[in-house]
């Protein structure tokens, strides 16, 4: 709970304006790149804990955890993006997100290297991602934003995580 509160208090500390057409993004680090997710989707941030494996799922689905009585799947974003995997430590962070798809709402956790900051990003700060053709799949990128001369990759987490789960059906069906 304390984590969430400090996040909410963050804009005042940073001293940024919260105008109507801007939204707040929580950013996290993944292999030296900074990614952002809509802060309203973040339910909580917790440390890495042991998971229960779900058989026959792709490697990036680490398993499920018990989050106060509900079963929540955990997805490793590094593996999802085909980055090198790193060993988990107690400092490894899981961000629990609310995912909205057409029919329902799900709660899922993503494993990231670490949480970075909270930024206000206005509509005109957000640029559409360039087309890389086949080199990089930008389907899951909502846009690129520049804040404090840094680039933040704003993710479309609904699309990313829903497809992660759905795609894994192929391998899981035996």
């Amino acid at each position: 709970m304390s984590t969430t509160q400090s996040i909410e208090a963050a804009p005042e500390i940073i001293g940024m304006d919260t105008s109507a057409d801007s939204s707040q993004y929580l950013t996290f680090i993944l292999s030296d790149e900074e990614y952002g997710v809509d802060i309203l989707r973040v339910q909580e941030i917790k440390g890495w804990d042991t998971v229960t494996l779900i058989p026959n799922t792709p490697g990036y689905i680490k398993g499920v955890i018990n989050l106060r009585g509900t079963i929540v799947p955990i997805i490793d974003l590094r593996l999802r993006f085909n980055l090198d995997s790193v060993n988990y430590s107690p400092l490894t962070v899981v961000i629990v997100l609310k995912i909205v798809s057409e029919d329902d709402e799900r709660v899922m956790g993503i494993v990231v290297d670490g949480v970075s900051d909270v930024y206000n990003v206005s509509e005109d700060q957000m640029k559409p991602p360039p087309d890389f053709g086949n080199v990089v799949n930008v389907d899951y990128v909502k846009g690129l934003a520049t804040v404090d001369e840094k680039m933040i990759i704003v993710l479309d987490i609904d699309h990313l995580l829903t497809s992660s789960v759905l795609e894994s059906i192929d391998k899981a069906s035996c």
Binding site: I54, P55, N66, T70, I71, V72, P73, R106, V165, C174
Partner: protein, 725 residues
């Protein structure tokens, strides 16, 4: 000041639907020519509250329609109208109408349906027609009235003659009569013959005596109790109403009551207590309704979740408690107290959990109550004479199961009516009573609920089923199969022996769906039939879907839960009993049965600890009628687990039916045995082999990931074509 009425809408709808159910149930009890005031009153009251509510909330169409209903019922209630089949049918249809109107109102649909208008016209027609009828034969009504009295046999005649001094001791007959009127239907006659001339009248003396008739199931002691305080100050005579004297007496009370009403104006006791009769009864029904409260199911589920959490916390604490006991011997007294506290906590949480689970349990009458109407309608439509006998409707089961078992039951009952019960003339020709009977029964057996649907119809025709099955190529002509297997055939998709399609049944869709639905709930269905005598269907269901008795097993590092209901036995493998087929599939010889061996570690891709299975443990399980042996590394505890869905936040996984949270807070997956056996079959042929090939080729993981994407794309392209065409 304006109040947002919307917040009360849901309550109004809930109550109205409940009221409609009451109306429906009572209308079905109401037979043509019946004069049972209680039933009519109940129906009237329900209609009245719906009218009142819909008026308040501004649903004027519903209010107008129910007003017609109410008028009709009011006339019935006041004996101005005979209860005939036509009006009962019309009322039943009107109940449906009101229901659909309410649904439409709630969902914002159009309630000006043609059916509604038709029904409205019918009601108006009945109202107009019968009005004149009823005035023509008032004699019939009085006859009916006396029937009411004679039909009730239990009651008491009370002669109460207080001494003149009774009033001076502070006793007043009026409250006593009102107490009596709460016990049953009371009629009071006052005898004012003892009244002296006004000049001689002493204001503190009692000159009146009463004879009372109390009708109802009342014990003599209860009446004595009322007069307890005045026992010494009156002549009291309490005798049961004799059936012989009743015939003469029936008309007397009515006559006397009216005269008593006039005579008693002096102290008003008689007249008032008569009025009390109605009040007393209303009060009685009111108090019996207040014993339950309406709570949203989500709130109950919240509590159940929290209690589940509490159970986990409790077992965590218990574990810590036992560890403390082990490694620290100092301060024995404190650990002792801690352990006692923990033991108590365990007891209390278990009890709490049990009672919370019971909140979700509802009597099966919630489903059974829809059948009388259905049987009534169907029997009429098909020209059959059918009686429905329902027993065990108080048997409780989980609400989730209740919701899902409704449709299969409807289907089976419909089948019984359509295929089972014959037409009256056929039945009489077969030497059976013309009225067919369908029995519905529910009971607890062990940890299961057993629902039985039985009819005394013609039974299943084995020969017909068999010939149909041969025709469809399900069975070979020269194959000899047991009766049981034949009955099993009707659960095949698309199987039907009905000669003609009706809109009731006979399309052959259904029985397979029925069985699938029941199996999805973890139950099974069994058919017994005797040709010419009837069919009996037994549905076995688990008590609840939220809790499961499980056997914890470990495979590698992982812990899985096998539902105890699917375990037949567990044994140690003797390698001599293991045989292989085609060098790959293994079978185990278990008492002359070869059962396939399933390596959980293979199916779930868990690294194996032991390579040989000799001396290992095997759990023999059964799912969908198929046996299999699961190879596990260890058998752990048996315990009750709370089932959590994997689908809520993830998706269904083959071979798993859900997950649960163990005492240490970790998640364990619950095996779906039937799914697992299906998985294993597929595994043996394709996946295992392809995996081996892949292993040999030594492909990198990323490479195979790309393959999947390609496979996906290939799949999508034909789909797109489909949509174009």
């Amino acid at each position: 000041m304006s109040i947002d009425l919307k917040q009360f809408h849901q309550t109004f709808f809930d109550e109205s639907f409940e009221g409609l159910d009451i109306m429906e149930a009572n209308l079905l009890d109401l037979e043509a020519g019946s004069t049972d005031k209680d039933i009519i009153n109940t129906i009237f009251r329900a209609a009245h509250s719906i009218k009142g509510g819909s008026g308040t909330f501004g649903f004027s169409e519903v209010a107008a329609f129910t007003h017609l209903l109410e008028t009709l019922l009011d006339e019935m209630r006041d004996n101005k109208r005979k209860v005939d089949q036509e009006s009962i049918d019309c009322l039943l249809q009107s109940v449906d109408c009101v229901r659909s109107m309410l649904n439409a109102t709630r969902d914002g649909g159009d309630i000006h349906d043609q059916v509604v208008t038709e029904n409205e016209n019918r009601l108006i027609a009945i109202l107009g027609k019968n009005n004149s009828n009823s005035t023509v034969d008032p004699e019939q009504e009085t006859v009916e009235l006396t029937q009411v009295n004679t039909s009730i046999s239990t009651g008491w005649d009370i002669r109460f003659k207080p001494l003149a001094s009774m009033l001076r001791t502070g006793n007043d007959p009026l409250p006593m009569f009102s107490v009596l009127s709460e016990l049953g239907e009371l009629s009071v006659t006052v005898d004012s013959s003892g009244l002296p001339n006004f000049d001689d009248l002493h204001p503190e003396n009692c000159y009146l005596s009463w004879s009372l008739r109390l009708i109802g199931d009342v014990a003599k002691e209860q009446i004595y109790e009322v007069f307890e305080w005045v026992e010494d100050e009156c002549d009291l005579d309490i005798v049961p109403i004799e059936s012989g004297s009743e015939k003469d007496g029936t008309k007397v009370p009515d006559a006397l009551v009216s005269s008593a009403g006039e005579d008693c104006t002096k102290d008003g006791a008689g007249a008032q207590s008569i009025k009390k009769t109605d009040v007393g009864q209303v009060k009685k029904t009111a108090t019996s309704e207040v014993t339950s409260i309406r709570v949203g199911i989500d709130k109950v589920d919240d509590i159940i979740n929290l209690v589940g959490e509490l159970v986990i916390t409790q077992s965590m604490l218990g574990q810590i408690g036992s560890e403390i006991d082990d490694d620290r011997e100092c301060d024995n007294r404190r650990t002792e107290r801690l352990r006692e506290g923990l033991a108590q906590l365990e007891r209390n949480t278990r009890e709490l959990q049990e009672s919370v689970m019971r909140v979700r349990m509802l009597p099966i009458s919630f489903i059974f109550s829809r059948f009388p109407r259905m049987v009534h309608d169907l029997a009429k439509k098909m020209g059959k004479d059918i009686k429905l006998v329902i027993t065990g409707e108080q048997t409780e089961l989980d609400k989730t199961i209740m919701e899902k078992i409704g449709d299969p039951l409807v289907h089976l009952v419909r089948n019984s009516i359509d295929h089972g019960i014959e037409k009256p003339d056929e039945r009489i020709a077969a030497g059976k009573p013309g009225t067919g009977t369908v029995y519905l029964d529910a009971s607890h057996q062990g940890g299961n609920i057993v629902v039985e649907i039985r009819d005394d119809g013609k039974g299943l025709d084995c020969d017909r089923i068999l010939s149909k099955a041969i025709e469809r190529g399900l069975v070979n002509e020269d194959e000899s199969i047991s009766e049981e297997k034949i009955y099993d055939l009707i659960f095949q998709p698309g199987f039907s022996t009905a000669e003609a399609l009706s809109d009731v049944s006979g399309r052959g869709v259904g029985m397979d769906v029925v069985r699938r639905n029941i199996r999805d709930l973890g139950g099974n269905v069994e058919i017994k039939s005797e040709q010419g005598k009837g069919t009996r269907m037994l549905i076995r269901l688990p008590l609840t879907l939220a809790i499961l008795d499980g056997q914890l097993v470990s495979v590698g590092e992982e812990t899985y839960i096998v539902p105890l209901t699917s375990i037949i036995e567990s044994l140690q493998i003797k390698i001599a009993q293991v045989n292989t087929i085609a060098g790959q599939a293994q079978v185990y010889l278990l008492r002359e049965d070869y059962i396939p061996i399933i390596h959980l570690s293979d199916i779930f891709s868990i690294p194996k600890e032991k390579l040989s299975i000799d001396g290992g443990l095997m759990v023999v399980v059964e799912g969908e009628g198929q046996k299999a042996g699961l190879i596990v590394d260890d058998l752990l505890a048996q315990q009750q687990v709370v089932i959590k869905s994997l689908e809520t936040n993830y998706k269904p996984v083959n071979g798993l039916s859900g997950a649960t949270i163990l005492g240490d807070g970790t998640v364990a997956l619950i095996l779906d045995i039937a799914g697992l056996i299906r998985c294993a079959k597929l595994m043996d042929t394709s996946l295992l082999r392809s995996q081996r090939i892949a292993d040999h080729a030594g492909e990198a993981q990323q490479g195979s990931g790309q393959e999947i994407i390609i496979a996906n794309m290939n799949k999508e392209i034909p789909d797109e074509h489909d949509t174009i065409h």
